[in-house]
């Protein structure tokens, strides 16, 4: 069994047996890693809060047949503001869950890791803006190779701006090609285009009308859920997150 060092963001964890926990980690070099932290649930565990979700840590890992084992952990960034504020935590949880679902085990994913780290750093500095989650999801789609095509109609090539988005088609559609696609406001289409290349700090400071923010978040979520082939579980505990944005289906 090999020992290796990795930097990681803790995505989540679940109880194992009496006192252990399995932690799910996002690493640049090994993609998603699941590892056991032995004895972590005991009050006197040397791990303390080092392996709590959304903490950025330096780890010493023992690779195993199925599950690795964490043998050492030092905090790089605790992201306390993120974890101790309900609004930030709610959005960060959705971000971590989406990254968890898209990352593959043992497949290096430096971009996914960098993106989540950038998003957490932004949320540590400032409370979430209206389109922070939408911005992250649009960048996530791009990093994962599922970028939305928002230029000309993906059916016939007609120039935009268009007001229909085909989730399964992967982008914007004209009136003719996109009869069944969901309808968005022109402002939302423009917003999605901006977000698809915006850095996290920029996405978080964008001041846009609530209706467009909700619509953009709804589209981005549906896109991600379409590619994951499942709904994201993370729940909305916060008033700032337009989680249940309804889309007009025509």
């Amino acid at each position: 069994m090999a020992i290796y060092k990795e930097r990681a963001i803790v995505l989540s964890g679940f109880r194992l047996g009496e006192a252990d926990r399995v932690v799910v980690l996002l690493t640049p070099g090994h993609g998603k890693v699941r590892a056991v932290a032995k004895g972590i649930r005991k009050t006197k565990s040397r791990f303390g809060a080092r392996l709590e979700p959304l903490v950025h840590v330096d780890l010493l890992l023992h690779s195993g047949k199925n599950l690795g084992t964490v043998t050492g952990a030092e905090i790089v960034e605790p992201f306390r503001e993120v974890r101790e504020d309900l609004d930030r935590l709610t959005i960060a949880s959705s971000m971590a869950e989406a990254a968890d679902r898209l990352a593959q085990e043992h497949e290096p994913s430096p971009m996914l890791y960098k993106l989540l780290l950038a998003a957490l750093r932004e949320l540590e500095l400032r409370p979430p803006g209206r389109v922070m989650l939408a911005g992250y999801l649009m960048r996530l789609l791009e990093v994962a190779g599922f970028a939305m095509a928002l230029g000309p109609c993906i059916g016939c090539g007609a120039d935009g701006p268009h007001t229909r988005i085909g989730i399964a088609d992967g982008g914007s559609l004209c009136r003719v090609c996109g009869g069944q696609a969901c309808l968005v406001e022109p402002g939302t289409m423009a917003l999605l285009e901006v977000l698809s290349s915006a850095k996290m700090a920029r996405a978080n400071e964008l001041a846009v009308p609530q209706a467009n923010a909700a619509e953009a978040t709804g589209v981005a979520l549906r896109f991600v859920e379409y590619h994951l082939d499942r709904r994201l579980k993370s729940v909305n505990l916060s008033s700032v997150m337009p989680r249940e944005a309804s889309l007009v289906q025509t």
Binding site: S12, G17, R80, R83, L86, V235
Partner: protein
Amino acid sequence: MFEGPVQDLVDELSKLPSIGGKTAQRIAFHLLLRTSRTDADRLAAAIVAIKEQVAICPRCFNFAAGDLCRFCSDSRRDETVVCVVESPPDIIAVERTGEFRGLYHVLGGAISPIQGIGPDELRVRELLDRIKADGIVEVIIATNPNIEGEATAMYIARLIEPLGIRVTRIASGLPVGGDLEYADEVTLGRALEGRREIHG
């Protein structure tokens, strides 16, 4: 696979949490070969008894042997202070301190934004109803000091504070008997925030 009754017991035991097939077999063999008839009868009777005699307290959702649990039915307890916990074993832990004389409220878990466990799956609404109906003036939130426990505490505080109720959170920090140099910065930071004056 084993013969009739042995296999039946192995099957039943493997339904229990954190007991796999191998462990179930070990327990079954232990009961078969090393446990006296008296002890086996006592175990069987204890299992039957909890199903027949233990109910859930309709007020605080702790286990109850009568109509209400022993805290809710004890007139010496302070009914204006409620300590909110995740599960009944947490009540035992708080009681052991001997420091708390109020009543409890068992949530039945913790909010986990990441696992998709929201307030609707816990007894949060019941807590709000109690606060409005029972003249409660202080709520102490004693959920676990992890991300789920903190999220739960923040959520409940946000709901209750507008009602003009005092909401406090148990302090978390360093375990007594631990060494400061091994503490991580999150735990140590919390301990600093929760510091108290000492008088020598």
